[in-house]
């Protein structure tokens, strides 16, 4: 251990829900996107799943809203070290979309991509089984543009850069392909509980 002289830090608040190296940002919700926030109206939004699937398809805003509603209440963790507790997102479970397109048995990974061109790669297993959503509401209100509105991917058990803002689609693959940050030195999976921040962690 490399103790810093004179550094005491904040009072320790034992919190088993805080992954290693993270702090509680409280009411703050920092914005860290690397691109210009797009002006994207719900009418111009669409979501597509293709690649290794039986029936590729696209959904408009209205069509996506016809799927069964599902919400997430819990915590989110950003690789820049803040975590946010007790957030509420509303949308549709990704399982509902995937059951329509039916991924092929050889499928192992997905690349999620945004209407801005941002990409993030994820193992298929991390976005199935009730662990991922297409979210368009935050705290009962429409999701703000700077937080990814009209709709973003939500994969709360991984670092939040995986939860692509302004989600446009998923490409289903039989191999892993680095996304935007992953190609810039960040970890391929990004599990906050194992502190997988950078490639090599």
């Amino acid at each position: 251990m490399n103790v810093t002289r004179g550094f005491t830090g904040r009072p320790r608040v034992p919190n088993a829900a805080l992954p290693p190296g993270q702090y509680d940002a409280g009411d703050d919700w920092p914005v860290l996107s690397a691109e210009v926030t797009p002006e994207l109206a719900p009418a111009d939004w669409s979501f597509r799943i293709d690649g290794l699937v039986e029936r590729p398809r696209s959904w408009s805003w209205e069509q996506a809203h016809e799927l069964p509603e599902s919400s997430y209440e819990g915590d989110i963790h950003c690789v820049t070290s803040w975590s946010k507790f007790g957030v509420r997102f509303g949308g549709v479970s990704l399982d509902a979309f995937l059951s329509v397109v039916r991924p092929h048995v050889s499928a192992t990974h997905v690349v999620a991509y945004s209407h801005t061109g941002y990409t993030a790669n994820l193992p298929l297993a991390d976005v199935t089984g009730g662990r991922a959503w297409i979210a368009w509401e935050y705290d009962g209100r429409p999701l703000a543009p700077e937080h990814g509105g009209p709709a973003r991917l939500l994969v709360p058990h991984l670092y939040f850069w995986k939860s692509a803002k302004w989600i446009a689609g998923l490409r289903i693959l039989d191999h892993d392909e680095p996304g935007f940050w992953e190609g810039n030195g960040y970890h391929a999976r990004g599990n906050p509980w194992e502190e997988q921040r950078y490639s090599g962690d």
Partner: protein
């Protein structure tokens, strides 16, 4: 099964903007925590200091990159934050960081109230090639407050290497006494003062009138724009650039959160 396999070129989304990273990032360098020793602390403004660090084994960086810095307390509690690298790359195994004193801030507070030459901290990096500027393309830099830090590394690099690729800096500060690196700016820089300004200089938020002349003098190949600051500043400045005609896929944004 083979007819379904997706092979060959990596997937590129069918969307209008896809910004590649500027450089490949050394995975080894980003993975290792190195001990850094403070060799000097320099006051920039009332709330901002620059610290010089000796980092044996530092592999070098490109202007615009940042690092992760960690402070550890006696009981093992650690706080880690990102800081942009202010110095231009050189072979000295020294780097400089410029730290704004955030009210109640754990890490910036330590730098401003405790840190002294001889102290050690830990750093890993450099990380993220996205905001890096190797000095290859004309660069239009727009910074607010401490957001000028990674941009200053670019300005210093431009000078140190006597690059002739065009470079302009638009920097926003509340007033002249809060302008970081004030004595270092040259003809490439236009300061914008939001609360108070020297005689004869306008006071006000960065506006279309500041951006328009820079976009009017388009260099060959166009500007690569680098915007850095708080999220509020980054949103405002990036919208000004888009409105003035800068293509969205040539705007890189570093938000300090």
């Amino acid at each position: 099964m083979t007819e379904l396999a997706v092979v060959g070129v990596p997937f590129a989304p069918p969307t209008r903007f896809a910004v590649p990273g500027r450089i490949a990032v050394g995975e080894q360098d980003a993975a290792v925590w190195r001990t850094a020793t403070l060799t000097a602390i320099r006051r920039e403004t009332a709330d901002v200091v620059t610290v010089r660090l000796a980092v044996p084994g530092w592999a070098g960086h490109l202007p615009g990159q940042h690092l992760m810095l960690r402070l550890t307390a006696g009981d093992g509690y650690a706080a880690q934050r990102h800081y942009s690298i202010a110095s231009a790359p050189d072979a000295s195994e020294h780097i400089e960081l410029t730290v704004d004193h955030v009210e109640g801030g754990e890490v910036s507070g330590w730098f401003h109230t405790v840190a002294a030459p001889g102290d050690t901290v830990e750093v890993r990096g450099p990380v993220s090639g996205f905001f890096a500027w190797p000095g290859d393309r004309p660069a239009l830099l727009v910074g607010g407050g401490s957001g000028v830090v990674p941009l200053m590394s670019m300005v210093r690099h431009h000078r140190a290497r006597r690059l002739d690729v065009p470079l302009r800096l638009l920097v926003s500060a509340r007033g002249p006494e809060e302008l970081i690196y004030a004595r270092e700016y040259g003809a490439e820089t236009t300061p914008v003062f939001t609360r108070s300004a020297p005689d004869g200089v306008a006071v006000g938020r960065m506006a279309a009138a500041h951006v328009a002349p820079l976009l009017a003098e388009q260099p060959a190949g166009g500007w690569e724009a680098y915007v850095c600051g708080s999220n509020g500043f980054a949103e405002h400045a990036s919208r000004l650039l888009v409105a003035a005609g800068q293509p969205v896929h040539r705007i890189r944004i570093e938000r300090f959160g």
